[in-house]
Amino acid sequence: MAVVFQRPKSLCDVPTHYCPGCTHGIIHRLVCEVMDEMDIAGNTIGVCPVGCSVMAYDYFACDMIEAPHGRAPAVATGVKRAKPDSYVFTYQGDGDLAAIGTAETVHAATRGENIVVIFVNNTTYGMTGGQMAPTTLPGQITQTTPYGRDPKVQGYPVRVCEMLATLDGTALAQRVAVDSVPNIRKAKAAIKKAFENQRDKKGFSIVEVLSTCPTNWGLSPTEALERLRKDMIPYYPLGVYKDKSAEEKEAAK
Amino acid sequence: MATTHEIVLAGFGGQGILFAGKILAYSGLMDEKEVSWLPSYGPEMRGGTANCSVCISDEPIGSPLVLNPDLLIAMNLPSYRKFIGAVKPGGTAVMDSVMVEEKSDRTDINCFYVPASRIAEDEGLSGMANIILIGKLIGETGIISLEHLRKAFEKSVPAKKANLISYNMKAIEIGMQYRK
């Protein structure tokens, strides 16, 4: 009998700690499918953040490092500079990447650090129980914005892809979502492109994945996906914000 | 009792104070002595001076910081004023008299005033007033031999600028022979 669907080899055969309906599982799987397709897991080192995916080192079957909060791009820089021929990726949430780790993110990007950053944006601090994130939407209620995020008090959300697209070192800045099958396919294509960029030494590639947090949003998994479409995508439009290889192809024509 | 020479070189930044100190230290090393060289670093708080301490000794050197030198080279007025009083009785001070227009009234030390900046200009040795003063210092004290000095220049001058060694040695000679 032909096998048409199975667990990617790069994904460990262990139960995860993620909440029901959480989209981390999908994103993990996409990264692992890409590693399998490119046959690079044996030469890949992943770097975990602090946040919900802090224990992702138990799920990815490549070598893994757990970084201090926000420092994953710096840790990945150290790995990549020490082992330039390996593949290196970070897997970070919004608080890790866009609040405490902003400096590390921006500077890894502007150095053109030849790494892949998977940025999971679910507009909240999930692991600590749902506090305001740098990407929390105006009006969004969290534990630390009980009356809704008020830009006059808490300022505005950070649009990471748009910001990093302005930097010369960024090779790819693309925002995707995992709310539907077509979007999941696009997300996988973006992640694959990011790893191919690394193979081709193009520089810093970030794929921002709009994700959900049913637990802390207080919604069912389906309602959460609905919110992603209704509230998040309008504020964080999907698309390619920077693609050096496409620009180069265009220029070559 | 072991001989120890404690030297302070002081002047403006850019006069080659640190290099001159390095030459003295290297000469000591070439003579198989124990040596140390310690610069002032960072923005100077008083008088815009740069200075360094050099120790040359038969024994391992304790504190490399020289507060009361036996030997002083002063290349500007603020440094002269700062250090002339600190020179140990019986010590020697050599001043660039173009830059230091005062004369010390201390009678317990040997003071020499050499218009090193002007001589350097006149002799086509621009920027080597520091080396002329070293020439005077060793001419008066004999703490270092010419052979060790030459070796020190060979060690300190980059290979690409090896032609500078003979200019430096010429500056030393002029300093040694200066009489007034």
Binding site: C12, A41, G42, N43, T44, I45, V47, V54, M55, Y57, D58, F60, A61, C62, D63, M64, I65, E66, A67, P68, R71, A74, V75, A76, T77, G78, V79, K80, R81, A82, K83, S86, A103, E104, V106, H107 | K22, A25, Y26, L29, E34, V35, S36, W37, L38, P39, Y41, G42, I61, G62, S63, P64, L65, L67, K155
Partner: protein
Amino acid sequence: MERNLMKGNEAIAEAAMRAGCKCFFGYPITPQTEISAYLAKNMAKNGGLFLQAESEVAAINMVLGASSTGTRVMTSSSSPGISLKSEGISYIAASDLPCVIVNVQRGGPGLGGIQPSQADYWQATKALGHGDFHILVFAPSSVQEMVDMVTEAFDLADEYRMPAMLLADGLLGQMMEPVSFPEKRTEFSPKPWATDGHKNKREHNIVNSLFLQPDVLQNSVVKRFERYEEIKEKHAQAEVYLCEDAEIVVTAYGATARVAKSAVNAARAKGIKAGLFRPKTLWPYPEKRLNDACKTAKRVLCVEMSMGQMIDDVKLALECRIPVEFFGKTGGVIPTPTEVLAQIEKYAE
């Protein structure tokens, strides 16, 4: 062996390359910047990497990443910068990763000053980050010793899988002294724990400091402390000078020990039975050596460029059996041999 004149900071950098350091990550700060400048010039020529990070925080985490791959790696800074690195140092220690950290101390607290100081003793030996852990702390007192200790720091860091610090100061970093270097290291022990890509030949390696189960975390800490006991036994080092009959033993480390030694010599010349005890490792502290050195001592005088930090370890080691006096200068002021001699004379009666 040929001896050349070299600045302490540059000697550290050259020694690191010869010890097989392949990556250096740093951020400029006075008075240690020559280390970065030297490596920026020479690292690539020697097949290594120099990278100026965007912050001290980033630099120490780059060290974490490079060390995870099994690469010999170093960072350096001065006091305020070390405070910023403390987060990463705790993670590195807790992840059982080796690395070498240089602190060319300057006056503090706060932005402080840029002149030599020893006010980071507590930080280095007791509290370089949160949690139960130690790092090896070497205290050189000459440029040559900086070279020797950098080499040893890399070796012991690898052997015990822990960070090692060279605790120097602005005076040692900035001064030039004659120095000779060992041959370049070419052979290293394998690091089977490294996350350098498993090549599909082994299970995946994980470098991690997170243990959510209290008993598991406790176990990992206890095992580390068992290693520390072995280190205390084997690697506590000191120089003991003229202590055989000493009635007053001066304790000092680093640059201050040079000043103290001059003062001890001067005291001996005056007929005072003075000696010097100079710890070369501050963690582990050479407690047994200190007790041996103080066998005939009636008093101990601890001299530091701080308000008195190492004195705690001196008292603990001696279990307060001998009175311990203190003399110190802080903020970048360097004590002079004359001042220390006056203290020796005062306490020798």
